[in-house]
């Protein structure tokens, strides 16, 4: 399910200074961390290493994995989306609301939309939240952190208002109303694999194709790496920016559908602080928060690292408080390693004598009043 295609936008694995074990460990650190987690917990608990447990853990990972794919797109663009947890919760609430039937008072009827219509409407809603984020950031120049932080509150508030703080418990639908099947996403399995995991895989594959094989993906990497250069090369940087927030919103909506389907209930506080876990997965996966670097493969591995670690701690009976500490430590470690990996590269090759980042670069580039004086 991870993308096997080499990521063209990254530097080649083997550079001029050759192949080295340290380099391999550094580049593949998230993957090695995942293997280490699996090995360690398999020793500590007899229940950890089994197909059944892996599938259960994978279905936990799915929610974060889907959020993280959307988050990766935003982070590749050099932004951040703090609103995905709230969007996830809001999506569940809207799904619950629609499943109860929509009363059209003027016509005196109650509409019971079928499940697929509910799913589509919820995704449209996620995209709308993303559109608001994108427009605020790209056109109105609100910093991404602030804009999405605001939306975090607004969307969560909307979810609480809609339900008055209560939870929709009955999402099953009724056969006579033709709206059954909502729990399919959360409970069913295809070839023994939970639907949520399959949805994550499909989203990851689509994401990989978008990033590696489409013009949009190239535009995204370019505008995240250097927005000014991308713009001067004809990249529609604003449209790209709005699109990534919309895609992130859709991912959050899908995650919301799966979560409420798994629980067959939709609470307005679902998904609180999930955005931070998604960001952590992206960072552990090696993406740079400054934009332009990162891929789906790494992000998924990052999501699995977090999920397998916390589930493993539950299985061996470590207290929930310690789980929080461990997860935090892993995130800090990941960021440290990112810093080591990118330190060499972040420094731009600067032209001799001038400072490319200097705000007063014009002064540095005034060529030769000297020459003019001599000849004049």
């Amino acid at each position: 399910m991870t993308d096997a295609s080499p990521d063209r936008s990254r530097s080649p694995r083997v550079s001029a200074d050759g192949f080295s074990l340290a380099k391999l460990l550094l580049e593949g650190r998230a993957f090695f961390a995942l293997i280490a987690i699996i090995v360690v917990f398999s020793f500590l608990s007899p229940y950890y290493l089994s197909v059944g447990n892996f599938l259960t853990m994978a279905s936990h990972v799915a929610i974060f994995g889907i959020l993280a794919v959307g988050m990766l797109l935003v982070i590749l663009n050099g932004g951040i989306d703090l609103s995905v947890g709230s969007t996830l919760g809001f999506s569940g609430v809207i799904a619950g609301f629609l499943m109860q039937g929509v009363q059209l008072t003027s016509f005196g009827v109650i509409l019971y939309p079928p499940v697929w219509v509910v799913a589509v409407l919820v995704c449209v809603l996620g995209a709308l939240v993303g559109l608001v984020n994108g427009v605020l950031i790209a056109w109105l120049k609100v910093p991404a952190f602030v804009a999405t932080l605001g939306m975090l509150y607004v969307v969560r508030g909307a979810a609480l208002l809609m339900t008055n703080g209560l939870t929709y418990n009955d999402l099953g639908g009724k056969p006579q109303l033709g709206n059954t099947g909502f729990e399919w996403m959360g409970f069913n399995r295809l070839l023994d694999i939970p639907i949520g995991v399959l949805v994550m895989a499909v989203i990851a594959i689509i994401g990989s194709i978008i990033l590696n094989r489409t013009a949009f993906g190239r535009w995204l990497y370019a505008s995240g790496g250097n927005e000014r250069a991308a713009e001067l090369s004809g990249v529609p940087v604003k449209q790209v920016q709005v699109s990534v927030y919309m895609l992130s919103g859709i991912c959050a909506a899908v995650a919301g559908l799966i979560l409420s389907s798994e629980l067959t209930s939709a609470g307005p506080t679902a998904g609180t602080s999930y955005e931070l876990t998604a960001i952590a997965a992206v960072v552990i996966g090696g993406a740079a928060l400054t934009g332009g670097r990162g891929n789906i493969r790494g992000t998924l591995v990052g999501a699995f690292v977090i999920g397998f670690l916390s589930d493993g701690l539950v299985i061996i009976g470590v207290s929930a408080y310690w789980q929080t500490v461990f997860t935090g430590a892993v995130i800090v470690l990941a960021v440290l390693l990112n810093a080591i990996q990118y330190r060499r590269r972040v420094k731009l090759p600067s032209p001799a004598g001038g400072s490319p980042t200097s705000p007063q670069k014009d002064k540095a580039t005034t060529a030769d009043p000297a020459l003019e004086k001599t000849a004049g």
């Binding site: 250097n226 001067l232 731009l348 600067s350 200097s358 540095a364 005034t366 003019e372 004086k373």
Partner: protein, 526 residues
């Protein structure tokens, strides 16, 4: 390593000796084995063109960066500086070319930043203020210690920067373009301070683009060219001509205008275009400028800093909105078009600062080259890898990029090759008009000649080329027509047989800013 003619080591009075200093940034060799001596109680001036490596060398000597290889001896002892404060502790301080002040803090706080004077109850602000007043008195500048730096004019900020360096009792003081924003009077004060310092045994390293001015104050002259020392001499034995000759080297042939074909129709037409100044609305940086360029023609825009060249080109390319006038491409008004639409219609810009505006550092050479022409290899929804590869390979051959291949990181290339990638990226869109803002900035002379040859080949095949420069020698290379810009307008137009003197006279050399006005008075007096 280049041989250093007239290099005479002076062991007795050398306070700092840098030996075989090499500094590379990615694939760029900023310094190629430099030997540099600082003499006790003397002013040593480092001359060199932009990009020669002056600032890099000074950053190494002041501990701001570390050399890739080479050694530094201080009083005969080998030393390595771990940081700028480490070098400062050993008595070396630097006045940076770009101001490094905190604009939100007062003059006093800036001067003592990081070295606050401790008193019984925290910082002894009264003592700091007293010392600041003394420094200001010494520099003959009437600035209150509590004034915020952001409220000072640029020249006064530079004085504060100098005062900060003076406040540390250094043995070696490096001044990188200390006078660029100073008035003539302030320069005289600074020179008096420098003489006082050298009389007390302080060694000065001085860097300035104003050669005459530097000649007044210096004891020794060292010339740096393309990262290597080309000459060293006692200031008594040299004159301006010696400096320029060693700075520029032999007249390198940058080519001549391509001939043997007739120009085509007018490809680009600029009609009465104005661009408002971003900082003050009533001023225009480009002022009702009109210009026609035919296909096959190469036009050079010469002008000093602030003449409006960059703004004109960015406005034509769509980065800046004009405040008036029209831009026509093949007779069609494109003033309202986006950058992408202009590129699609055949109008492209190679920006001045390739690091900031030209390249995506996180992407490979190939992805950078193909960035502007992605549409050419999209099949259905997806990118065609094979078509992209052939496009990238063709482009690498076409513009002679020296690279390990399309997948190499862009940072591995030298400055000249990076510039060729930016040009190649725009050429793959098959433009009709190509604008280049200072295309030769920060690249060595060989790469410069190659870029110009490339442009003249393309012009002969019908490309209209407009490039800007601030070096007169470049005007008189491949351009069919030379336009001189001054204060946002065209002040003169020349054919390829113009002389350097004519071009420079038309650029209104001295009246770009307040500071430049001071300069001109200064010169007139002399």
């Amino acid at each position: 390593m280049n041989a250093a003619p007239e290099f005479e080591p002076a062991p007795g009075d050398t306070v700092l000796a840098a030996r075989h200093i090499v500094k590379t940034y990615g694939g760029t060799h900023a310094l190629k084995g430099v030997n540099f001596d600082i003499r006790r109680g003397k002013v040593t001036t480092l001359f060199g063109e932009n990009g020669a490596g002056k600032s890099t060398l000074m950053k190494i000597l002041s501990g701001v960066t570390t050399p890739t290889s080479g050694s530094i001896e201080l009083d005969g002892q080998s030393v390595t500086f771990s940081s700028a404060s480490d070098a400062r502790d050993r008595g070396i301080s630097i006045i940076h070319q770009e101001l490094s002040l905190a604009p939100n803090l007062s003059v006093r706080d800036n001067i003592f930043m990081g070295r606050e004077i401790r008193g019984a109850t925290g910082v002894d602000f009264a003592e700091e203020a007293r010392q600041t007043r003394l420094l200001m008195a010494d520099l003959e500048e009437d600035i209150d210690p509590l004034t915020l730096v952001q409220d000072l004019r640029l020249g006064q900020q530079q004085i504060v920067e100098i005062a900060r360096a003076l406040s540390v009792d250094s043995r070696i003081l490096i001044m990188d373009e200390p006078t660029s924003a100073l008035s003539a009077t302030e320069v005289e004060v600074l020179f008096r301070v420098i003489r006082d310092l050298t009389a007390r045994g302080v060694s000065i390293v001085y860097i300035s683009h104003h050669l005459e001015e530097a000649l007044q104050i210096t004891d020794y002259a060292v010339v740096l060219r393309d990262g290597a020392i080309t000459a060293t001499a006692n200031a008594r034995h040299i004159n301006l001509e010696w400096i320029v000759r060693n700075m520029v080297g032999e007249n390198f042939d940058l080519g001549s205008p391509p001939t043997g074909y007739a120009f085509g129709e007018v490809a680009l037409s600029v009609e009465d275009v104005s661009v408002a100044d971003a900082s003050s609305s009533e001023r225009s940086v480009v002022d009702r400028l009109s210009l026609d360029v035919r296909s096959g023609e190469i036009v050079c825009i010469y002008g000093l800093m602030g003449a409006g060249r960059t703004e004109l080109l960015e406005c034509i390319a769509g980065r800046l909105q004009p405040s008036g006038g029209r831009i026509l491409l093949d007779g069609k008004d494109i003033s309202r078009f986006s950058i992408a639409e202009r590129i699609a219609r055949g109008l492209v810009l190679v920006p001045e600062d390739r690091q900031r505006d030209g390249l995506v550092q996180t992407m490979s050479v190939g992805a950078n080259l193909s960035l502007a022409s992605i549409g050419a290899f999209v099949r259905g929804m997806l990118l065609s890898r094979s078509q992209e590869r052939s496009l990238v390979e063709a482009s690498i051959r076409d513009v002679h990029v020296k690279t390990a291949g399309g997948s190499a990181p862009i940072g591995s290339l030298s400055g000249g090759n990076q510039q060729k990638v930016v040009i190649g990226k725009m050429l793959t869109t098959n433009p009709k008009v190509m604008l280049l803002d200072e295309p030769s900035r920060g690249i060595d002379i060989g790469a410069k000649a190659e870029v110009f040859r490339l442009l003249s080949e393309r012009a002969a095949r019908g490309l209209a080329v407009v490039f800007s420069t601030s070096e007169v020698a470049e005007c008189l290379s491949i351009a069919h027509r030379i336009i001189v810009m001054h204060r946002g307008r065209i002040s003169a137009e020349f054919t390829a047989d113009a002389t350097k003197e004519e071009i420079m006279a038309a650029s209104g050399e001295a009246v770009v800013s307040d500071h430049e006005e001071h300069r001109s008075h200064h010169r007139d007096r002399r």
